[in-house]
Symmetry: C2
Subunit: 516 residues, 2 copies
């Protein structure tokens, strides 16, 4: 790696040379980021318990090198010059997006004082440890002082990185670029107004589907073979990826041809692994579908976490829980689990996958109530960021809201305000992307159904290639060139609306519960 660019040099370079150099640096940074991802994957899958301390040193060393590469002043000067060059307006769409977003990312990072970055890193490590203790003891007092610090630091970050934005929108920009809280809040209000009554109606329905057949014995090895078959069937490429076991499932990209997904297994409940893998493989299909030649540059990056989640939810819920998919999947499942499924029918399984059952814990929630969990967190974290709610008042606010939406109060804070690690980890502005993903997924699936007239028949035959191909062409190929809402609007031909999600839930869960 040669360092030839100085402020006096750059001005003598052609825009094309400047662009090539900026891309080279970004690709070098991507190599380091992918090494960081490899260390993180290993840490969560197989690292020996006592290796954690040194792994921290390894990760910190790579993070330091990465930060230095991304924030080198010479890079900022070159990117500023590039953004003012004719290439920024006359280049190809990919080149224009790359220039705009590399400059945007640089400026945003450069506005953060190193002191703040360091303090955030240190505080969130400590806060997460405090969270683990607090949750185990169900002790809000143990976590509260740490959350005070985290929220204060996040408010400072918000003011630094995007002084032009409302503080919550500034934080949102890290996960859902272009997202604006009033738009999301209005959308969520409509959604909540539809979902709360739907959940209540399901709870009061005389006809209630049961998932008892999913709670039989499903041997681990048979599950491993089965979910791999399903992941391959929807298009996950195991030549460019792998599947491992973890307590907390995730999808991580270690390189342009190295996407790793994980799942957990429960021999007494098949959906844990099956829908876990469909979800993570959905993320993986997006990663594997991003433009490979732009890996490490904005046109090869994901548009947002909401779009990412739309891909995982589409495969998990809109394909994976559909009656059409189970026409193909049921015989495969019965062959994989003859003892458990021999006396069942496809219809039994289809019904078993549409159970609505309010629970205190978000990660155990069904497809319908899940969104209520997310909207609750969105409203509370926004109120704290905006100074309308104190950290001290979070537990009471949580319980009140939960009772309003779910009809009961969490018996302990461990089952309430203390259940998620996100806030302790500094992930504020992150929760809404989960439900935005559901909103985008429903609208995209409706558009796919219009674009592929016989999609239902294809799914029933286990042919998912056209659906994946359509997502590749419309969503994946766009990388980060468009923000999420314009992207979904372009692809579906209409403005983003939560009505598709309401329609999808009502259409599928209504009949399952005999609702009119």
């Amino acid at each position: 790696m040669k360092h030839t660019a100085s402020s006096s040099d750059t001005s003598t370079q052609s825009p094309t040379a400047l662009f090539d150099q900026a891309c080279t640096t970004a690709r070098e940074a991507a190599v380091l980021a992918s090494v960081e991802a490899a260390l993180g994957w290993d840490e969560r899958t197989g690292m020996p318990p006592k290796a954690a301390d040194y792994r921290g040193e390894q990760a910190a060393a790579i993070a330091g090198l990465l930060h230095a590469k991304r924030t080198a002043p010479a890079r900022g000067e070159a990117l500023a010059e590039l953004a003012a060059s004719p290439l920024a307006t006359e280049g190809s769409p990919q080149v224009r997006a790359a220039i705009r977003l590399m400059a945007h990312d640089y400026e945003k990072q450069a506005r953060l004082p190193v002191r703040l970055v360091t303090e955030m890193a240190k505080t969130t490590v400590d806060a997460q440890q405090a969270w683990a203790v607090a949750r185990a003891k169900s002790s809000w007092a143990t976590l509260a002082p740490w959350l005070e610090k985290v929220f204060a630091l996040k408010r400072e970050q918000a003011a630094c990185q995007r002084p032009d934005l409302d503080p919550y929108d500034s934080l949102l920009d890290d996960y859902e670029p272009g997202g604006r809280w009033p738009v999301i809040a209005e959308r969520f209000t409509h959604l909540r107004d539809a979902i709360v009554p739907l959940v209540r109606a399901c709870g009061e329905a005389s006809r209630r589907p049961t998932d008892a057949i999913m709670r039989r014995h499903f041997p681990l090895h048979d599950q491993q073979r089965f979910v791999r078959t399903v992941a391959e069937r929807i298009g996950f490429d195991f030549q460019r990826g792998r599947l491992d076991t973890t307590d907390h499932p995730f999808c991580s990209t270690l390189g342009p041809d190295d996407c790793r997904i994980t799942t957990r297994w429960d021999e007494a409940y098949l959906p844990t692994a099956l829908f876990g893998v469909l979800h993570e493989a959905g993320h993986g299909l997006y990663e594997q579908g991003l433009p490979r030649e732009w890996f490490g540059l904005p046109p090869g990056e994901a548009a947002s976490l909401g779009i990412h989640e739309s891909q995982s939810r589409l495969w998990e819920n809109l394909v994976g829980r559909s009656p059409e998919f189970w026409e193909w999947c049921f015989p495969v499942a019965r062959e994989a689990f003859p003892a458990a499924l021999t006396d069942t029918t496809a219809a039994d399984v289809q019904a078993a996958l549409l159970v609505v059952e309010p629970s205190f814990i978000r990660v155990e929630a069904d497809e319908v109530t899940y969104n209520l969990h997310v909207m609750l967190r969105f409203d509370l974290e926004r109120a704290v960021v905006h100074g309308d709610l104190s950290v001290a008042d979070l537990p009471a606010a949580w319980n009140e809201r939960f009772e309003n939406d779910f009809g009961r109060r969490p018996p302990t804070d461990a089952e309430g305000v203390l259940q998620d690690i996100h806030w302790s980890a500094g992930l504020i502005g992150y929760f809404p992307t989960y439900t935005l993903g559901n909103v985008f997924a429903a609208q995209l699936m409706a558009a796919a159904t219009r674009a592929i007239p016989n999609l239902g028949q294809q799914m029933a035959a286990g042919q998912l290639g056209d659906l994946l191909g359509w997502l590749r062409k419309t969503v994946h190929a766009a990388g980060r060139m468009q923000e999420s809402e314009p992207l979904v609007e372009r692809v579906t031909g209409e403005p983003v609306s939560e009505r598709w999600l309401v329609e999808s839930l009502t259409r599928r869960y209504g009949p399952a519960y005999g609702l009119s």
Copy 2:
């Protein structure tokens, strides 16, 4: 990481400050080297097939950063000043060794032209690909031009890095610091004079042990549990390490508390995994026993490959094939494999592990003939380095020597001169460390037996703690502070001699074959 040292700065620093700074840089380099090891471990255990290209970029990026850190001129100046300071003669043994060896390593690396390092890297990658083709076709002509280049480059490297040494000894210095070929050659001649007749006598013996009971069916899952039990029993710490599956077993250290071993499995031959794991766990025990507080610095590094191999061979052969160990191990094995071992006795297994059977392939060789394979390669590679043998004449020389030692000629070059990847990979001066390891292991085990009077009884009870403790105290704790021969001499109280290996082989294999 601050870069404050310049040539004018260093002279104003105290020796202690200089030393701390040199250690900090070495530890930072060790972090990067351990990241490189993590990428290499992943590449060989679980990386998706198509991820190889990008993994090459990741590894190259880390290697470049590592090389820059290790060979920074400012580091050379600081180390030279340190080597001339009072600390180099008056510090603790660890400090003195660290100063001496850091300066030695720096000077050696700095003497290599970057052009040579780059050309070596590129040539050995190409040569290894040519080797794979050549072995598959059994075509010497395919490999020969590449080996010409590799040997020429290695001769150049030898002349550059240690101009004070004979060229072969210069190469040996990379693997067995302080090793001198005339000493090794004399030792090997005595060894060969003892082993060739022993192999012949075993071949002609009327009483011949059989390993038929080891060729029954040993289910994979039972083997996995069994070898883990054995590895834990000899002291391998799974809190600081793990065991994975690979085609070519290895041991790799990813951090001071992260030692990873691998094995392959053969359901039709128990010794493949069992002795593979004992071997790699032996390496692992050494790595786990090196002084943790000196990780990344010479007092925390291995003394040599010969010493490393002595640890793996001691556990694999001198413990793992001993009748005493099998007094403990046999009931454990019979419980693990009831179907395969129910009609057998400890004596049957003990006999089955002492089969001598000459084979063309080194990696399939038994404990006795293995050394003949190594000595053949040592003599041939040395002759080429010294210009006494041309690369073109290697196959003929190989076959002639093989017939002399083993009584038959390899039917093809694939089963002869083409079988090993080492020369193509530039590993010249490496082979002798395998048999040096056996020599050191036998002498160390004899000393351990004297030091621990009831060692046999302990082994029979499955108590290996005293043996490991003795190795920890005598060998592991020394790190790289002594070269291998002085180390073994100090620990055993007598000069290094091959006679202990001859004695060990004769004592165990003579009775098995009914030799007088």
